[in-house]
Symmetry: C2
Subunit: 235 residues, 2 copies
């Protein structure tokens, strides 16, 4: 495994940043891919470089492993979607329980582009932060979806990719513990300071759990996860 290469879907959010550390701990070479599709929290993309720098400050030995960052412009996704994530509408929840930030099949499209890049780069492992545990209702984060997509991609590209989802069965507190085990307090601090989750792109104030408006669903999830990690006895 250690001689193999990985491509990490790295948005600049907490989950994908933790996945990047996980991949650097496990694989011989690691590249990253991000998508710019006019999302409102474009700030996520802007923190990506800062996180990569802070990550290597926390674990300098990973410097030799961390390779190219592929940033793919995907305006088409905004063209397809009419959801809050890519417009100025208010974040809310649809009748089916899905947040109106839902871009249908977004992760399928992201993973398909990642596989196309991985194909060209000779990379076998594709790593994403999909998770069903603190589940927002996005069906494209489900384990069943990812496993079916692995089969479709491997048939459709005639390769043997492995879609790795190390956070699938972890809650947010466990994700923080994973980060701590991978890079100690320095990595936890890098995640707090240099990753972004808030749908509104608010970075005006540093909370115990990082930056954000504190009220959107993404901030709410992040704050609760941090609280459960930082003071487990109060859960």
């Amino acid at each position: 495994m250690m001689q193999e290469k990985a491509l990490v879907l790295f948005s600049g959010g907490q989950d994908s940043a933790t996945c990047l550390a996980w991949a650097l701990d496990r694989f011989a070479q690691v590249e990253t891919i991000g998508f710019d599709y006019g999302q409102r929290h474009k700030i996520e993309l802007e923190v990506r470089d800062a996180f990569r720098t802070a990550l290597l400050a926390a674990r300098p030995e990973w410097g030799a492993k961390l390779g190219t960052d592929h940033l793919i412009r995907l305006d088409a996704l905004g063209q397809v979607s009419d959801t809050a994530l890519t417009s100025d509408a208010t974040i809310a929840f649809n009748a089916d329980g899905l947040p109106n930030t839902f871009v249908p099949g977004r992760n399928i499209i992201f993973l398909s582009f990642a596989a196309a890049i991985a194909y060209r780069r000779g990379i076998k492992h594709i790593v994403g932060g999909m998770c069903e545990t603190d589940y927002s209702g996005y069906p494209d984060c489900r384990d069943d979806t990812i496993k079916a997509l692995q089969v479709a991609l491997n048939l459709g590209m005639d390769r043997r990719f492995v879609l790795e989802t190390p956070l699938m069965w972890l809650d947010k507190a466990a994700t923080w513990r994973l980060a701590e085990s991978l890079g100690g307090a320095a990595l936890v601090e890098a995640l707090l300071e240099h990753t972004h989750s808030c749908y509104l792109g608010d970075r005006s104030e540093r909370h115990p759990w990082g930056y954000g408006c504190g009220t959107c669903p993404a901030c709410d999830l992040r704050a609760k996860g941090w609280a459960a990690y930082a003071a487990p006895e109060t859960r």
Copy 2:
């Protein structure tokens, strides 16, 4: 079936144009989707409107069924690919037998975007011209790929899409016969005049089988298919 809606992947090539006629014959409402990704045979996109017009001249009763055309800009695909189809390199065949026009997983990405559009538009059937019979070696045209992808899309979007591939088991002569059965000589003529297959975008001369350079793999396949259809006894 007749009360249901379909979305047809319509590139402007012969196969997808035949699929459009097939869908209009079968479904109550039909929309089309095309992708502009910097392909060299951009002429394919330019003939799309002309074909839609000629199709309705051949079968005027289809006018009430034929709806919106969605044209999605997908520059990202050109960004990912370094193949001949999106650059000025010469068309050739790689060591693995695939044409170097191969964009890995292209049809998976197209079908995923089509499903996102279909989700928003309340469309169940997604129709594509994928075919394994006159097989160029593209693994994303294989029936196994399409069936696995249907499962991944349905899980990932929590819907029940049906991926329809009416040409999967037809050779090119049979595809011409299908067109004739759907729209007679007028549809065959519309396909000859207003669809495009040539990788080089050559429309300088009308051959018996339509326009094209006559020497690239796509022209070669089209010319042979026409010959088999037009003069089956000489096969």
